[in-house]
């Protein structure tokens, strides 16, 4: 899967779960401040990513993930 395809898929998950406009989902965007996501939103987003990419993300791996770009790196590392 190309980097662009990965990002596109991740972005679609964020749009669906967080109900934000697609143009706000950029790598620099912070989940809490820019995308108005609370801790339960992030749990649901991780579930959506696991489902979409067929990966498994442990809770401990989410420490320090605050931006879309960091989430992208995490997903990519598992493919």
């Amino acid at each position: 899967m190309s980097d662009d395809a990965i990002f596109e898929k991740l972005s679609q998950c964020a749009v669906d779960v967080l109900q934000v406009p697609p143009d706000k989902v950029v790598k620099e965007a912070r989940f809490s401040d820019d995308l108005d996501a609370d801790s339960l939103d992030l749990v649901e987003l991780v579930m959506a990513l696991e489902e979409a990419f067929g990966i498994s993300v442990d809770e401990s791996e989410l420490d320090g993930i605050e931006t879309v770009g960091e989430a992208y790196d995490l997903v990519k590392s598992k493919l």
């Binding site: 967080l18 109900q19 934000v20 108005d36 339960l40 749990v43 649901e44 579930m47 696991e50 489902e51």
Partner: protein, 403 residues
């Protein structure tokens, strides 16, 4: 409404004005469409709300995080709020003096069913972290208080099909006591699903042909409905001081239990009788003052018979005019009493009692003056609304034209 009884007699509370109305029902969204629907043709089968778009009332994320029963509650409450605020643009109330009691029978059933499916098909790791806050029965009342920023009591009375009536009564009592200056009271329900149809059907509670025929000789059970009703209840002086339109008043309420059987009404109707008598006394009235009864009138053989026994006992013969709007709305369970309270307020506004749709053939065992065929003019005075729930819960409201 009274606040209690002392040695010197009942202690009167503040007068409780109804200053805003909101309704989501199968026969119309908003009071104008709803009233036309009550005077219109009856449908067959489950009475689902049509043409409801949650995004008309909620942001996309808010809509995704709430069950349908909360969508209905928010829509009805926002309508009622906007209605009450229409004269001055604001309700002019301190957040801590405003509260909400939106009741329900079930809660977020659709969410629950969907998450059970996901659990079974995809496993525990895919169950939504939002399942609990979406399905909990207090989710609707919580979402309304959060939306409005009201920090007074936000509660929910869960008494099955009496919940909407008890919700309004609880909210009104808080205004009467002075705890709140403004409250939203109501009920919401969204639990029409193949599973509930099967369950109610196996109880033999449902109509065998999808027709709701309250008090009619051919009645065979109720038809499931859904929706929400909400009233803005306000200290009458507060309403006057901000120049609000006062539709009517909640003048009395009561709650009793049959303490007899979980689903069958007591054959002597003792709980329903005492509930009506207590509500009328709470309003400082006598039975002869009541000019309209909005019956529970579900269209089940046992309920309608027991209710007619109770009405006969309290009011004698002939009874005041009796209507059951469930001919049109079906039985919206925990929302029913709230939707019916809106119907009474509109019947006061319009000086018309809506007819009991589906009623055509008199049952010789039921000696009531049933309003049917066409709406009947009345001189708006005092009306009583009855609600009886599984569990033997009885709730009555007395709603009065304001004097």
């Amino acid at each position: 409404m009274h606040l209690g009884i002392t040695e010197s007699g009942p202690v009167k509370g503040r007068r409780v004005a109804i200053t805003g109305l909101g309704v989501v029902s199968c026969c119309g969204i908003g009071v104008g469409a709803f009233w036309e629907g009550l005077l219109g043709e009856q449908q067959q089968g489950e009475r689902q709300v049509r043409d409801f778009n949650p995004l008309d009332w909620l942001g996309p994320k808010e809509a995704r995080r709430l069950d349908k029963f909360a969508h209905y509650a928010i829509a009805a409450s926002q309508m009622a709020f906007d209605d009450a605020a229409s004269s001055s643009g604001t309700l002019d109330v301190a957040p801590e003096k405003a509260g909400v009691v939106i009741s329900t029978g079930f809660g977020g059933l659709e969410t629950f069913l969907e998450q059970v499916r996901i659990f079974n098909e995809k496993g525990a790791k895919r169950v939504s972290p939002f399942m609990i806050p979406m399905l909990m029965a207090n989710a609707a009342t919580a979402s309304v208080s959060m939306r409005l920023g009201w920090t007074g009591p936000s509660e929910n009375v869960v008494t099955a099909c009496a919940a909407g009536t008890h919700g309004i009564a609880a909210a009104a009592r808080m205004v009467a006591s002075g705890r709140l200056d403004i409250a939203i009271g109501g009920g919401s329900e969204a639990s029409i699903a193949p599973l509930t149809i099967a369950a109610f059907g196996n109880m033999t509670a449902l109509s065998d042909d999808g027709m709701s025929r309250p008090f009619d000789k051919r009645r065979s059970g109720f038809v499931l409905g859904e929706g929400a009703g909400a009233l803005v209840l306000e200290d009458l002086d507060h309403a006057h001081s901000r120049g609000a339109h006062v539709y009517a008043e909640i003048s009395g309420a009561a709650s009793t239990a049959d303490a007899y059987h979980v689903t069958q009404p007591a054959p002597d109707a003792r709980g329903a009788i005492s509930c009506m008598e207590l509500a009328i006394a709470d309003a400082g009235l006598t039975a002869s003052d009541i000019g309209q009864i909005n019956a529970h009138g579900t269209s089940t053989p046992l309920n309608d018979l027991a209710e007619s026994v109770a009405i006969h006992q309290v009011f004698g013969s002939p009874s005041p005019p009796v209507t059951s709007t469930k001919g049109i709305t079906g039985h919206a369970l925990g929302a029913a009493g709230a939707i019916e309270a809106v119907a009474i307020v509109l019947s006061i506004e319009k000086s018309l009692i809506p007819p009991t749709a589906g009623y055509e053939i008199e049952d010789s065992e039921i000696a009531l003056d049933v309003v049917y065929g066409a709406a009947r003019p009345w001189n708006p005075g005092h009306a009583i609304s009855n609600s009886f729930g599984f569990g033997g819960h009885n709730g009555c409201l007395v709603i009065s034209a304001t004097s």
